[in-house]
Symmetry: C2
Subunit: 326 residues, 2 copies
Amino acid sequence: MKKIRIAIAGYGNLGRGVELAVRQNADMELCAIFTRRDPKSLAVKSETPVYHISEAPDMRDKIDVVIMCGGSAKDLPVQTPEMAKYFNVVDSFDTHAKIPEHFAKVDEACRISGKVGIISVGWDPGMFSLNRIYAQAILPDGRDYTFWGRGVSQGHSDAIRRIPGVTDARQYTIPCEAAMERVRNGENPTLSVREKHTRECFVAVEDGVDKTAVENEIVNMPNYFSDYDTTVHFVTEEELKKNHSELPHGGSVIRCGVTGDGHRCVIEYKLTLDSNPEFTSCILAAYARAAFRLSRENVCGAKTVMDIAPSYLHSESCEWLRKNLL
Amino acid sequence: MKKIRIAIAGYGNLGRGVELAVRQNADMELCAIFTRRDPKSLAVKSETPVYHISEAPDMRDKIDVVIMCGGSAKDLPVQTPEMAKYFNVVDSFDTHAKIPEHFAKVDEACRISGKVGIISVGWDPGMFSLNRIYAQAILPDGRDYTFWGRGVSQGHSDAIRRIPGVTDARQYTIPCEAAMERVRNGENPTLSVREKHTRECFVAVEDGVDKTAVENEIVNMPNYFSDYDTTVHFVTEEELKKNHSELPHGGSVIRCGVTGDGHRCVIEYKLTLDSNPEFTSCILAAYARAAFRLSRENVCGAKTVMDIAPSYLHSESCEWLRKNLL
């Protein structure tokens, strides 16, 4: 059977994760890596050929799906609609507030090219969104809760790194067990931001820096930390590298509701991930399969995870799935 | 906006649950209850008109979707294909081994009538199946675990009731916490049937019955109990009614796998239900919405939960879902 020909656009944490994820899927092959850097400068793990991203359009007949691995802030808003002119694309655009705008731009490009563009694929947005939709549809009378962590928030780590005197930092978002237990018990509590999560920071600073001042700056930082109970640990750069170089994450989407005569019901979807970017990469690979299959059925346009039937993601046939997993 | 006109076929635990579930969905109205019994004999909770099931075909222009609420053993294999001649239908057929055969029969009827028939809707098969499919697609290298309970197994309760001298019984399936913890920790254990679940039975017997003999008969019953550690409590009928008249259930679908460089990953979908039939009813109602929408798009044929995109289940529009839940 012909394999699904995948390309990666962007070779950071996510791109490297997709490179590994494609290897786990026997019906896919990685055919190209597109980069904005000098292709020769890329230390690629596999034997995959590397091209400058400007060469991508020439490969339009050699690639079935391009998995977009750039950042949501600056890369994807431009790159995904551009690539959708030539290829079926999948991206992990995660700026929640701008999803409708991004969807419209990708949809426009796909309508012209006749391609499929699946946006905002990952775990949040992505699998968490799906679980909110399923749970709300099943339990109209209910309440949603999302807890994140324990995991590294790259945005919060970066915010700490921008403080003068800080040389490196890692921030963990930690869900409050007590709050989660109340939710799981069906208490339907109203929880403040502070009651749901705490934040723990591991920070390396230059010699002679006033640690108390840095700590105050962190815990009082608006938007990022001031609404949370935050703990700051000062550590050496070596300790950061040794004990905090991984990117674990996870979390739970929980809906508590009532059925019929007032019986309680709790639906929980929980992820525990040793590697956040690798897990996102695995989801991107599964949705690349869906993009390929939809395109083969002459579907075109922008899609999100909620528009795609589960069977499109799995490598086996519908007959097999009915027989074995239903 | 015109509401989705729902009918129920069969008025047992599930039918009564669907009657309540429809009330929770503002875009639906319950228009008819079909029964094989004398319609006048039915004590219906709502004002819904009751008809003999033989009158159903005459109502074909007045109903959008019939939710089939009969049993999987004898009712649904006949009733679902029959009703699919006239209506879009949704059922909760749960005899796993016979799903392909049931699918084929419903599909044939739907192809002729041009209707949609969604089969095996519920939580297992149903939401648990979906979660197996999603998790396998995302983590090709991994292992699946399903734990059921704590909850009442009606099949096991019935098996005890068939023992001479037993007047009533309730059997709870209990997942082993220790085994679940090993799975959640990513140990990927190989678990025997006995290690995954225990069984607890509450049994009322006639006066003078040899309880030791009854207990032995229960714990050694092949298929049902002999492979499990089973506890039997003898109680009065009053105690059974007072403390064991509800039908709670639930369980977890867990997949443990590895991403990329061997990082561990655990995906868990967990249900805690005070009322098993009411929860199944809520899922049936959501998929009735999907059947209605698919039919409006001129789709026909048999479907299962894996063939249906999540957005079809939710009462809000795709635009709303993208903006609010993604």
